[in-house]
């Protein structure tokens, strides 16, 4: 089903003939699923499709023009940068993909400590440019290949948020094309051409833009964003090695990792609080045990050789290793001081320093999110809790218990309680509960039930806030439990700005829509 000819010609006149196509081969390359996070679930296999048209805009003006044509001809459109999440796909017939990769505007103000980026800029680009100038940002767990703008609007979680704070707090002046094609400038951009500050006149619309853990392109398109950068330390982190063994060598007088083994889970949690209250460190995280085996394995087969060895359940139960990053931002003396304070805390709690490589493969400039697919070929996180440390700890316990009834088909992880870390000096605890499965599993229904119904219900039951409230939860299940009407306000905002539901439909109700259409999942709907 092609988009109307008049619409095609109008958009072609906006972007040029070389940047629009409805050729089946071109469109097939944007086919749903087969890309990014949440791929390989039954949702991806059943629910998604091939767009009818692909457009590559090059500027905010072109985006506005395209969106206005879409509104005029009622063409659903899906904006995407890196296509790293499953929402970046055609979910209704007649959809048009807006591939934003050409919008790779980049500028950096070293004095003002911010960068201005277009939707085509990814984190590793931004991080390198920042570090060249003695500044830094945080690269999210989602991967250094994630585009900066959409990730900042959604979550932007990284162990380094421990000191830098939530990504949302670092959004400055922003340009937003609404689903009707109007241009809204937020923050200082509303008054002048300088995007240096996020708050502008009137209510802070950044909250509107972020919605409830992101809109995933369903409230228009952000075409430019200034992001706050923070002072880093001056020594260069030197890239070394040849793929796949590449890493940043750390200048250990200014940047160091520590692996401390705590005697118990309670001691580990206490350490998280104490470190935060001491106001030290740059990152505090407890990673799943299996990640250590991923790091050691040269191949998937070797990982399974390690992981299948006896004693893993015991190892998981007794291993409480806290991985800590210290950065001497201001001086070697700062690192030395924080090192001593950390050692004191660990001494009181019975922590033992374990050998630690002083290189960084996957936190500061890179983030090997894609390695999550290395184990089994498919992976899904069912939780990204941003709540108190206590709540995060409780959440991972509950999900670990619940997961037993979904294993198999989920991969056996011997009761590992997921990835736990601290944000904002202990004001937040974050747990990501990662699960792995065989994408060729016959019973993918159970995976879908686990991801889209069981885990969200567990959140509701225990009052946990998860950043997957939009992209992986039925809005009408989780919404009433939180607020209890914030989902209704969200839908009102959607209605106000996108009454024709053209901006990435049917987000934010896509999971609800999927469950309703799924013969297997609909019977499970009891809300």
């Amino acid at each position: 089903m092609a988009i109307p000819r008049e619409a095609y010609r109008a958009i072609e006149a906006i972007v040029g003939a070389g940047f629009i196509s409805e050729d089946p081969a071109i469109c097939e390359a944007y086919c749903s699923g087969r890309m990014g996070y949440v791929k390989d679930t039954a949702y991806e296999k059943d629910f998604l499709g091939v767009p009818d048209c692909v457009v590559l805009p090059g500027s905010t003006e072109e985006v506005q023009g395209i969106v206005r044509v879409a509104c005029q001809y009622k063409i659903p459109f899906v904006p995407a940068s890196s296509f790293w999440i499953i929402h970046c796909a055609a979910k209704v017939p007649g959809s048009m993909i807006l591939d934003l990769k050409r919008m790779n505007h980049f500028e950096i103000d070293s004095d003002g400590m911010y960068a201005v980026v277009g939707p085509g800029i990814i984190y590793s680009q931004l991080q390198e440019e920042a570090m060249k100038r003695g500044l830094y940002t945080t690269v999210p767990g989602g991967g250094s290949q994630a585009a900066v703008i959409p990730n900042m609007l959604h979550w932007g979680l990284s162990p380094l948020n421990y000191r830098t704070g939530w990504a949302a707090r670092r959004i400055l002046g922003t340009e937003w094309v609404t689903p009707r094609g109007e241009l809204v400038r937020l923050g200082s951009l509303a008054l002048q051409a300088d995007p240096f500050w996020g708050e502008g006149p009137g209510p802070d619309l950044r909250g509107l833009l972020r919605g409830w853990a992101g809109w995933f392109g369903s409230l228009g398109i952000v075409t430019k964003m200034a992001v706050k950068l923070l002072p880093f330390q001056p020594e260069r982190l030197v890239p070394t090695g040849i793929s796949p063994n590449t890493a940043l060598e750390l200048p250990t007088s200014r940047v160091r990792w520590y692996n401390y083994a705590l005697p118990s889970r309670q001691a580990l949690i206490k350490a998280m609080y104490e470190i935060g209250q001491a106001g030290i460190c740059a990152g505090v995280t407890k990673v799943p045990i299996m990640w250590r085996y991923i790091a050691k394995a040269r191949t998937r087969e070797q990982f399974w050789e390690f992981w299948s060895q006896p004693g893993k359940e015991d190892e998981v139960a007794r291993t409480n290793i806290l991985r800590i990053l210290i950065i001497g931002y201001t001086s070697e003396g700062q690192l030395a001081y924080e090192d001593r304070v950390l050692a004191d805390i660990m001494s009181e709690l019975g922590g033992e320093l374990r050998p630690t490589r002083h290189s960084d493969q996957s936190w500061i400039k890179n983030a090997d999110a894609v390695t999550m697919w290395f184990l089994t070929g498919a992976f899904i996180s069912v939780e990204v809790t941003v709540d108190s440390i206590a709540c995060a700890d409780k959440t991972r316990t509950k999900l670990t218990e619940l997961k037993r009834s979904f294993t198999p088909p989920l991969m056996e992880d011997y009761g590992d309680m997921g990835w736990l870390q601290v944000s904002e000096f202990g004001h937040n605890g974050y747990v990501e509960f990662l699960t792995y499965f065989d994408p060729d599993e016959k019973d993918l229904d159970k995976i879908d039930e686990w991801s889209f119904i069981a885990a969200p219900k567990e959140d509701v039951r225990w009052g946990t806030y998860s950043g997957f409230m939009i992209c992986q939860s039925p809005l009408h299940l989780t919404g009433p439990a939180y607020g209890p009407n914030c989902h209704l306000w969200m839908l009102k905002m959607k209605e106000a700005f996108d009454p024709d539901h053209l901006s990435n439909p049917p987000v934010p109700e896509n999971i609800d829509d999927y469950i309703e259409r799924s013969e297997r999942l609909r019977p499970l709907r009891d809300w």
């Binding site: 390359a29 086919c31 590559l56 296509f83 793929s243 796949p244 070797q302 894609v370």
Partner: protein, 426 residues
């Protein structure tokens, strides 16, 4: 050959769309510029022109949902098969994107949709005259000057000049032969040299490639040579990797060793057996040929099964580009007095292609030239006055781009610098 496109369905399906095939290794990410590794995606922008997009098209063809069309073939073939995608993907995953791309081309040919017109023309020329150019086969060995000392038979090393050095750039073959002379190598020209077959293999014309390979391998075996030496990266990789692939065997089982001039000479220089007294005063950027660098690891034949969680039995050894020939050319250049080696931003396994490979030079000359011009800009960015590579096709592509772009950058093959450096200063 065992690997048809269906055999690689798993690899195409399990692409996660992380675009490791497109971005420079994030650890080495240089910032907002020179940040990508895929020429075709950079040029054409639509996802169909990247490995992850081609894999989706391949799946759709296998599933009968997508028919062949000029645009599909354009997207499949406007790709140098440079392997940057492969090295990038394999940093984190155990998948084979390059094998999928190669198999997709074979599928196009098997289904009658490919190859493209220029590829067919070259195949005809190779069939008739045993060379890429359609030139007189009798002229193939005419590059050899009278003053080169070599045997005509019975030597331990067979020198394979390749079509480009035999016909288009005989100076490279001559320089190589002089370097071998100076090193005291016992070598002979490859008897009955035919085109290595790369233009056939790379464009999906596997049957004809196999016939060429059969001939060439038989000739080497019959000659008694234990080493097949070349100074062409494209020939090197074709012999070392694609020939065993074509016959379901491993490189180690070929019965002779395939070696590149730089691989051969570097240890002799570093050990002091060969000295390079002649100076070459310039800031020189070394361009890693794809086929000598990330694509040059030996081929290890694998046959087995895939079980739960995709685990292979028996385990397979993945070629990730880690052990490519990166260091040896640099050692040689570093040994030349006066030569200042500067590294380009994208180097080794992240190197940007010269533009020439995969059949692009013949079928997509504008794209090939654009790719080379991007590389020239990268050399100028680091202040290079000279660019050196280790493949006649790279030299031709890069030199052509510098000329057309009116860029002041001299381009050499490493053999040409080595033969100058071997001469004592006057």
């Amino acid at each position: 050959m065992t690997m048809n496109l269906e055999d690689l369905r798993y690899d195409a399906e399990k692409c996660v769309g992380c675009k490791g095939c497109v971005w420079v290794d994030h650890i080495y990410m240089p910032g907002a510029t020179f940040s990508t590794r895929c020429p075709s995606l950079d040029r054409y922008q639509f996802d169909a022109y990247a490995a992850y997009g081609r894999e989706k098209m391949a799946l759709a063809v296998m599933e009968g949902r997508l028919e062949y069309s000029p645009r599909l073939l354009d997207a499949v073939y406007a790709c140098q098969l440079c392997g940057a995608c492969d090295a990038g993907c394999k940093r984190n995953l155990d998948l084979e994107p390059l094998l999928v791309l190669e198999a997709f081309r074979r599928r196009c040919v098997e289904d009658g949709a490919g190859p493209l017109p220029e590829h067919r023309r070259i195949a005809d020329r190779i069939e008739k005259t045993r060379n890429y150019y359609g030139a007189d086969a009798r002229m193939r060995g005419r590059w050899l000057p009278a003053d080169i000392r070599m045997r005509h038979e019975g030597a331990g090393i067979a020198y394979f000049a390749g079509c480009n050095a035999s016909y288009a750039q005989p100076g490279i073959a001559q320089a190589t032969a002089r370097v071998l002379n100076a090193s005291g190598a016992d070598f002979m020209p490859m008897p009955e040299e035919w085109c290595c077959g790369y233009p056939l293999y790379a464009t999906g014309q596997a049957e004809q490639a196999r016939r060429v390979a059969e001939h060439n391998m038989a000739v080497v075996k019959e000659s008694g040579a234990k080493i097949l030496l070349t100074s062409c990266a494209e020939c090197y990789k074709t012999w070392k990797v694609d020939y065993p692939k074509l016959f379901d065997m491993s490189t180690a089982d070929m019965g002779f060793t395939v070696t590149h001039l730089t691989e051969y000479l570097a240890p002799l220089v570093t050990q002091g057996d060969v000295s390079l007294p002649g100076s070459f005063v310039a800031r020189v950027a070394y361009h890693d040929p794809c086929n000598l660098g990330r694509l040059s690891e030996p081929w290890v034949h694998w046959a087995g099964k895939r079980g739960r969680f995709g685990v292979l039995s028996p385990p397979k050894e993945y070629r990730r580009g880690t052990f490519g020939i990166y260091q040896q050319p640099r050692e040689l250049l570093g040994a030349i007095p006066g030569l200042e080696l500067v590294e380009m931003v994208r180097m080794r396994e992240n190197a940007w292609c010269c533009g020439s490979g995969g059949g692009c030079a013949s079928q997509f000359p504008e794209f090939a030239r654009w790719t080379a011009q991007e590389r020239i800009q990268e050399a100028k960015h680091v202040g290079a006055e000279v660019m050196v590579s280790a493949c006649p096709w790279c030299k031709e592509s890069l030199a052509g781009a510098a000329r057309e772009g009116d860029v002041h950058l001299a381009v050499y093959d490493i053999s040409e610098l080595l033969v100058r450096a071997l001469a004592a200063p006057e």
